[in-house]
């Protein structure tokens, strides 16, 4: 398993280089809200022929052999993220005449995908965030070996075989997009107005949290994890981030393979760290009881002034720990009212900032948590060959161009290491992500996504019940023991 989770690191490394090259003294420039109408100038985001991929070359040929063909892709991206993907493939569609239909299924994504695959009516392509599930589909022959479609070296430079691989050396998925998860969103202007400094250590963060409460300025944290059948994953991300900081990356990787059980001093210590922030009276907006009862996209709403005027505004909550996929599309103005409702645009980098989730134990350095989406080329339901136009789309998405527009919108990091560094320059979010990864001393891939599905489900459900019970010692026992019990026998 250890070889399978490192491909995103190298990708993020490219961003580090990009920003390092661009600016000697990094002063990230703010990125405003790029609506779906804003088309970046410059040439079309498609690779020049020949690309080295047979079907892709064919598709980009002047005669457009696949014109009018339809390729379906099922994703978990909704709202702005879905629009970003559509923008990423728009130029390719125009150049080839292939119609790429994105089927966005939000929190039911994994279940819908499985029923479609089992029902022998799979989409042509699908994105999946859980490498463990990708491997399962691969071992069952439900997704195809993509080794012949991609240039594996573009994803693995320096890290050996760092793709989602099967027992026979097959490559079951194409790494597509990566996210840095060790990030906290906060209101820059409100911090400045109240004289709060961005905490760089856990002690500073604890002091700040206590100060916010004693100042009577609302709650330090915005936390919400309700996400339909996927409820729990945001809380497990928290625990993973803390585990990296308190137990260290070595123990963290043992934890993924269950060498280190949940019922261990390390996990209990990490839970105690989180419990202090979540269950202390007044620390979470709405109280800990609201964590599981509030939608995952809504926790940051109290952070914004409804009239767009930050002057004299005191946020209801001050810090929201969420990965880099989050952004202006999910801020309340846009999320609740659509693009037209954003008359008070909150600019990332000016109004809303991103800070590093501080390190806790100095001995464990400054770790970074990350995750990524993998593209599967699914085996057609009748067992026939994958159609050439599907291969062409998969090949296109494996190239940096497959994510170019999304990167230019300042919101994505490609898993492909040959992505031109200049593309990342100038985007606040990507600069912060690069900064975090650049300064980090160790990396961890999203642990729950790598655990067996039974354990992942027990982890999600267990931590949700733990929160609902207010993190009592009895609830802690129940939680850690239930995940250990759910772990499948080897």
């Amino acid at each position: 398993m250890t070889t399978k989770r490192n491909w995103w690191l190298t990708a993020v490394g490219a961003v580090v280089l990009a920003t390092a090259c661009q600016t000697a003294a990094p002063s990230p420039s703010p990125s405003s809200q790029p609506g779906p109408t804003s088309t970046p100038a410059g040439p079309a985001a498609v690779p020049a022929v020949p690309t080295g991929h047979a079907e892709l070359d064919q598709a980009l040929g002047a005669d457009q052999p696949f014109k009018g063909k339809k390729v379906t892709i099922q994703t978990q991206w909704i709202l702005g993220e879905g629009a970003n993907f559509d923008a990423s493939v728009a130029d390719f569609e125009a150049a080839t005449g292939i119609e790429i239909v994105q089927e966005s299924i939000a929190s039911q994504h994994e279940l819908v995908l499985r029923s479609r695959i089992e029902g022998h009516t799979p989409p042509d392509l699908a994105m999946l965030a859980q490498p463990s599930a990708v491997i399962e589909y691969g071992d069952r022959g439900l997704t195809t070996n993509v080794a012949s479609l991609i240039d594996a070296s573009q994803f693995s430079a320096g890290f050996g075989t760092s793709l989602v691989t099967g027992a026979g050396g097959e490559i079951w998925g194409i790494p597509f997009k990566v996210d840095v998860k060790s990030t906290i969103w906060y209101p820059i202007k409100a911090f400045a107005a109240k004289g709060y400094a961005v905490p760089t250590t856990w002690a500073e963060l604890q002091t700040l949290a206590a100060k916010i409460v004693s100042d009577g300025n609302g709650s330090p944290w915005c936390v919400a994890i309700k996400d339909g059948q996927a409820t729990g994953w945001i809380a497990t991300d928290w625990l993973e981030d803390v585990m990296l900081r308190t137990a260290g990356v070595e123990k963290y990787n043992q934890w993924i393979t269950h060498e280190l059980p949940f019922d261990s001093p390390e996990v209990r210590a990490a839970l105690a760290v989180i419990g202090e922030q979540w269950f202390t009276q007044g620390y979470v907006y709405g109280g800990y009881q609201s964590i599981t009862a509030t939608d995952r996209l809504a926790p940051m709403d109290p952070m914004f002034p409804t009239d767009g005027n930050w002057e004299g505004f005191t946020p209801g909550c001050w810090m929201h720990r969420q990965a880099t996929w989050f952004g202006p599309d999910f801020f309340p103005g846009v999320r609740l009212n659509g693009q037209s409702g954003s008359e008070h645009p909150n600019v990332v980098g000016e109004d809303i900032g991103i800070m590093y989730f501080p390190s806790i134990d100095a001995a464990q350095g400054k770790p970074a948590l990350g995750a990524g989406d993998t593209l599967m080329v699914l085996t057609p339901g009748d067992g026939s060959e994958v159609r050439p136009e599907v291969k062409a789309v998969a090949e296109f998405l494996s190239t940096p161009y497959g994510l170019q527009r999304w990167i230019e919108r300042g919101s994505a990091i490609s898993a492909n290491q040959t992505t031109p560094e200049a593309w990342y320059a100038g985007a606040y979010k990507l600069a912060v992500a690069a900064d975090i990864v650049g300064n980090s001393t160790s990396f961890g891939f999203d642990a729950s996504d790598l655990m067996p599905p039974e354990a992942n489900r027990a982890f999600w459900d267990g931590i949700t019940a733990w929160i609902d019970a207010g993190g009592t010692p009895a609830a802690t026992d129940t939680f850690v023991q239930s995940v250990d019990a759910a772990w499948p026998a080897q």
Binding site: G68, K69, K70, E99, E110, L111, R114, S115, T121, A133, E136, R140, G228, Q229, T231, G232, Y285, G286, G287, Q289, S290, T292, A293, G381, D382, P452, P453, E454, R457, A458, D461, T464, A465, D468, A469, S482, A485, A486, P488
Partner: protein, 390 residues
């Protein structure tokens, strides 16, 4: 046309050959129809052929590529399915029965029942018996590591016993609540002037699906932090009398009962209608006699009416028990099985769709099937006793 042929003494050649013709035609229609419908891209291909025939080559090509008038194609397919499913089958039945009608009366009596029962039996075998056997086989052979009973042994671990415990709570509280409240209302509305109106209100929820009801009850149970406006009805009531809002679906063990309440709300109407009809069937003489003997109204209800309608109560209880044992939708929509609310059916769904544990899912399905069997046995026996279905 075919059915009237029997009445005529002199059979004209046309009438003589019409039934077999109809049968053959029906068979051909069904065969062609099934052939078309079995194709994965039936809708597009059928519409494309129509377009080709009409000379709209462009439209046909677009459809074959998975684009074009998909909605029109689906509508045409729907009409075809209706034509084949209703028209074709009808012609087949009428034709075959007419053919049998040409035989001697002795053979007619022997063959005719089979003509009508064989298609139903074939469908039951394909869609019910085959999957049942398949599920049991899967539970004994898939992912078992050599021990056929591995999945069943694993069910004795605490994480599965907890599910069974929840199912038992559902069985007892859900069934008991629906039947008792249904019985109570049936007894009470018997004395009400606008009985039909009162019954309609109780009966209405039965028309709502479990999923729909769960969505409705989400708004009933909605929780907001104390001090904020409560948009959930129950918490709005609770906070208006000064108490703090209650997290109905998060707090254990309250949440399981909150979910069962949704079920009772849905099923009480069914219990009430059946039991109300049974109460109406109790002869007035018996009640008059009890009254003359000095029984109070309450005694009449509990000691006279209830024993008389016992058969109906058992029927209602077993029918609801079968539904409640298989309960899935409410848990899936409301909590996803979190916070200690999970039940066997939802776990089965998770084992299959999330965990890729096909064998374990099949074992859970088999356990549910076996658990329902005795209840069904009681149900059927009781129906027989009442003279229904014997």
């Amino acid at each position: 046309m075919a059915t009237t042929s029997r009445d005529t003494v002199e059979i004209s050649p046309l009438r003589r050959f019409a039934p077999p013709l109809a049968a053959v035609l029906g068979l051909v229609i069904v065969a062609i129809g099934v052939g078309i419908l079995a194709d994965r891209n039936a809708a597009s291909n059928l519409m494309a052929s129509i377009y080709d025939a009409l000379g709209n080559t462009q439209g046909a090509v677009a459809l074959r590529n998975g684009a074009g008038d998909q909605l029109a194609a689906k509508l045409v397919l729907g009409v075809l399915a209706l034509f084949v499913g209703v028209g074709g089958i009808w012609m087949l039945f009428v034709g075959v029965s007419a053919i049998v009608g040409l035989l001697s009366p002795r053979w007619q009596g022997r063959i005719l029942p089979w003509v009508f029962i064989v298609p139903a039996m074939a469908l039951l075998t394909v869609f019910l018996i085959y999957p049942t056997v398949g599920t049991i086989v899967t539970s004994l052979t898939v992912q078992t590591n050599g021990d056929p009973l591995a999945h069943y042994k694993a069910l004795f671990s605490p994480q599965y016993l907890g599910l069974i415990q929840n199912n038992l709570t559902w069985l007892i509280v859900g069934t008991g609540g629906s039947v008792l409240i249904g019985l109570l209302i049936a007894g009470l509305v018997d004395r009400v002037k606008r009985e039909a109106l009162a019954k309609t209100f109780i009966f209405l929820p039965l028309a709502i699906s479990f999923v729909g009801a769960s969505v409705i009850w989400r708004f009933m149970y909605e929780w907001q932090p104390g001090g904020q406006p409560q948009i959930g009805l129950l918490n709005a009531v609770v906070t208006s009398v000064g108490a703090g809002p209650i997290r109905w679906v998060q707090d254990q063990p309250l949440n399981t009962y909150a979910l069962i309440l949704i079920f009772i709300w849905l099923q009480t109407g069914f219990a009430m209608v059946v039991l109300s009809a049974a109460i109406k069937g109790v002869s007035i003489e018996v009640i008059e006699a009890a009254r003359l003997d000095g029984a109070s109204e309450r005694q009449i209800f509990t000691r006279v009416i209830v024993p008389i309608i016992k058969g109906s109560i058992i029927t209602v209880a077993t029918t609801i028990a079968i539904v409640v044992l298989k309960i899935f939708d409410i848990i899936y929509v409301m909590t996803g099985g979190r916070d200690g609310t999970n039940v066997i059916a939802n776990r089965m769904f998770q084992e299959f769709y999330e965990f890729f544990n096909d064998g374990r899912a099949a074992a859970l399905g088999t356990v549910l099937f076996i658990a329902v069997l005795p209840v069904m046995f009681v149900n059927v026996r009781n129906l027989r006793k009442q003279g229904i279905g014997s």
